[in-house]
Symmetry: C2
Amino acid sequence: MFKFSVTILGSSSAIPTSDRNPTAQLVNHNDHLFLIDCGEGTQVTLRRMHIHFQRIEHVFISHLHGDHFFGLIGLISSMHLLGRGKKLHIYGPPELKEIIDIQLSVSLTVLQYPLVFHPTQADSPAVIFENENLLVSSFPMLHRIPTNGFLFAEKQGERRIRKEILGMLNIPVTELPKIKKGGNFTDAEGKLHLNSSITLDPYPQRKYAFCSDTAYFEEIIPVVKGADLLYHETTFLQDRAANAAEKFHSTTKEAAQIALNAEVKKLIIGHYSARYDDLQPLLDEASAVFHDTELALEGKTIDV
Amino acid sequence: MFKFSVTILGSSSAIPTSDRNPTAQLVNHNDHLFLIDCGEGTQVTLRRMHIHFQRIEHVFISHLHGDHFFGLIGLISSMHLLGRGKKLHIYGPPELKEIIDIQLSVSLTVLQYPLVFHPTQADSPAVIFENENLLVSSFPMLHRIPTNGFLFAEKQGERRIRKEILGMLNIPVTELPKIKKGGNFTDAEGKLHLNSSITLDPYPQRKYAFCSDTAYFEEIIPVVKGADLLYHETTFLQDRAANAAEKFHSTTKEAAQIALNAEVKKLIIGHYSARYDDLQPLLDEASAVFHDTELALEGKTIDV
């Protein structure tokens, strides 16, 4: 199975604190690095975690509240100053391009590497990235300004030829692609081997869903249904539900309710209001509704 | 004498490292707080140093390279989110206003406090701020884009009435302003007391000069002449003089030469290239030319 993990770079909501950074997450899928959001200070957090940020190929920005993108221009600049040559793809609201361009322009910076900007919309779900093994889609959140969540979904993999069979039947290399796609195999002596007898099912297609920032929004449920891992913001405890609704944020209980109804395997909560020094009550409240809940904490890596 | 100090918030050049922040300094004059430059992460650095950033009244931005202003929008936002009501004055190149405005606009943020923007020019020295006790001037650096240094100069203070005289002569409160301005005093018995016999000279007028970023530039010398404290960037050691010149930066030796020729009392060097883990060689090289040199280090406070 491919490596598929999420590293929390920032767990704070709007205001960074002394020990909590604004939102940023690093997704590693098969050693391709994807950055989700990029709050102020993300480049330094990556350094401190010894993550080589030039390896990041794609950056997804959920929306244009500062705690989700103020660190992007610094990361772009440092990549340039450190001699990056390879492309960087950025996916975000159209105005983000203007914000990047004006800041490069006033400093007379001409990037040494191609920056490819992919404007997003937050009206309906859309596939925004695809490689051989992975699809990334954006899907609308319910927030004060246009905001997307992101779904990282593995594609259907190939059938896996049983290791012991491979040697035993002396299958020619040229036959492998066909078998992996489900074909049968006829050996040198003319004997037919049904695909089901020589292969295993493909690995399950795993999914990671990132939901930030949003009010309680049931339209998320069908999109993230059955995800192996769901990140959902929980800015407040349930006793501040009115406050959360007014600010288009969610409570711990609401996040857990989404996880429960979407039948995900695991929930990570984060985007904590700076008012909470102790996060245990948030974990307790969410866990009471959805058992397999974990706190987003800076530096934590969770396998999908 | 008034409190007059400089706290180093960031000592790194273009690329922040794990333990060095991009440029930012806090000047405290008589408990008025002034921020010079605001690299990415400055708001968190202020928090970690337990400096209440709502007390900052004036922010001076030297130029629009990212390592000097990428943290400003985050600071402005957090001041807003934390309920600031009082004015914030920002002094910087005209394009900075556009950069701030577009980022507030995309997030639909209407600041709760008045942000007063004062555009600067970098063609000639100019007084850009004045209060009862202090003048702040900008003056041109020699850099790749328009860049200012800032001079914080105390105004001539009043004459100081000797404490022992105050009680002895029973001087009425209404007479004090006149005497502080140099006037004589006639006591109840008609005896004339010359000002020189009842007062001391005003405190000396101290000066702090901030020079960042700049190539070696002798036009700085008359402006910072005799300063009590000079901060001058030293991105490189002298063996990289060609590199420094090409990038419009200074070497340690050049900074020290400016300090020497300007006959300042003390020099702080900073804005170190990320290539230097050990800063001792920079200090040694500068000290050899100008003895009273100190390293800018995060968290250090130097009295002017």
